[in-house]
Symmetry: C2
């Protein structure tokens, strides 16, 4: 986190701590979607998405939200520092993401497109809206339907995964269509697999608490489709995602591998 060098505040340490150690799936999607468009310098954009992903985890882990002690196998930010530092570190990571996008090595028009779509994907019509639906569902009188949970996840995790997959096309001013189809299917497969891991995984491998959703009686893709049904649906979506990339031919093999990884991972 070069942008944080020389800042002697716990919140800067907390920001750097929060972005370490993830899978890096979103950054990978950015880098690969750029590469298939001939762009090799997507570092700013990849860092931006990981900053916002990290901020969302820091805030989601807060006691007033999911109240988690463990993230990526380490204490959550509010456990290692305190709640105030976690709120501020998340806030500043979101600002930093937009600063990074403003400095992305592509045309000003492309940067504006990146920033606008990123802001929408991060906000109340995207990630935050999905998280708010998730919280509202906890006190709802009836469990969510498959349609509702699909909409929820399209916001909560899907919007940023989708954005990551389209970033390279946006940088080069190309049609985002194929990558958007890929990203939408991939984002949903990703979330279905998270629900599968919540049932089949163990906390030490997954790196965070498991079984919480089932214990809380929340509707999940597994509770709605069954374990086998959920796995089958995820596999169909990964096939859809890979098929959408035909226009890129063999150049997109790494993106296809990423899609296959999403339903092979154990964390």
């Amino acid at each position: 986190m070069d942008a944080l060098h020389g800042i002697d505040l716990p919140v800067a340490d907390a920001m750097a701590y929060a972005v370490r150690g993830g899978k890096g799936l979103r950054a990978f999607l950015v880098v690969e979607s750029a590469r298939v468009h001939g762009i090799t310098d997507a570092g700013h954009v990849a860092a931006a998405i990981e900053c916002v992903h990290a901020y969302s985890l820091v805030h989601d882990d807060l006691p007033c939200m999911d109240d988690d002690d463990l993230r990526r196998g380490q204490p959550t930010v509010h456990r290692k520092w305190d709640d105030a530092t976690a709120v501020l570190a998340g806030d500043a990571l979101q600002s930093l993401a937009f600063e990074l996008l403003a400095d992305a090595p592509c045309s000003a028009d492309a940067r504006i497109d990146l920033i606008r779509s990123f802001a929408i994907a991060s906000g109340v019509r995207g990630m935050v809206g999905g998280q708010a639906m998730d919280i509202a569902a906890e006190t709802a009188s009836e469990p969510l339907t498959l349609e509702q949970i699909t909409e929820l996840q399209a916001g909560k995790t899907g919007a940023l995964i989708n954005w990551s997959a389209t970033a390279g096309a946006r940088m080069s001013g190309a049609d985002i269509g194929p990558l958007q189809t890929y990203g939408t299917a991939l984002g949903l497969a990703f979330q279905i697999w998270d629900d599968v891991l919540d049932v089949t995984g163990d906390a030490a491998t997954v790196g965070k608490a498991v079984g919480k959703d089932a214990d809380a009686g929340k509707a999940t893709f597994v509770s709605l489709l069954g374990l086998d049904g959920a796995k089958r649906r995820a596999e169909q979506l990964v096939t859809q995602a890979c098929d959408a990339l035909s226009v890129y031919g063999k150049d997109a093999e790494n993106l296809r591998d990423a899609a296959r990884f999403v339903i092979a991972r154990d964390k």
Copy 2:
């Protein structure tokens, strides 16, 4: 808040609630700094700064931060809804601010300049950094010095006021120098006057709790300079701010009025 129409979530209501009823000083600075550059359509940019200002208040008021029940004479967002909704509403207001800037009616290069400078002013080198210093000061063994509190306030409140004052020049691609001098002096005068009001004001008029800083034994401009000394310093800064606008002649009279308002206000 047109951007929130049709979103049926408490978090969208909380966002709209959070931005209502402020003084609108920052929006005014944006509109007037645009007007002196011949720009009449600064609504997106003015809305963006008020979104980020509102988000910062919503998060600062949280129990884990300043723990305030009252803001702008009404219950704070976490008191009216809950802590989770307040965290999410703040997060989404920050995203919305960048979306608004991406749609500002000026050149793509100017929008990039607005976004980059706004992200820096909002983040760990600006507002969040100042807030983090403020929190660190609460547990420090010694009260802050005048130099330290000036640095803290330059981040916490100064960075966004300064940005607001320069926004019009940025929109038109003009030299931001005079407005930056104005904005820096104005931001400091604003915070000194906040400290004066914390001593001399009453909660009903100010719209939030008063006397908290003195009760907590925190260093403020009043504790460091005395009440008269603080008032005098604020007056000097307002004179400096007004003088910096000479290049704009009579066109800048509204900006001068805004500076004078900052040390005449009782809330």
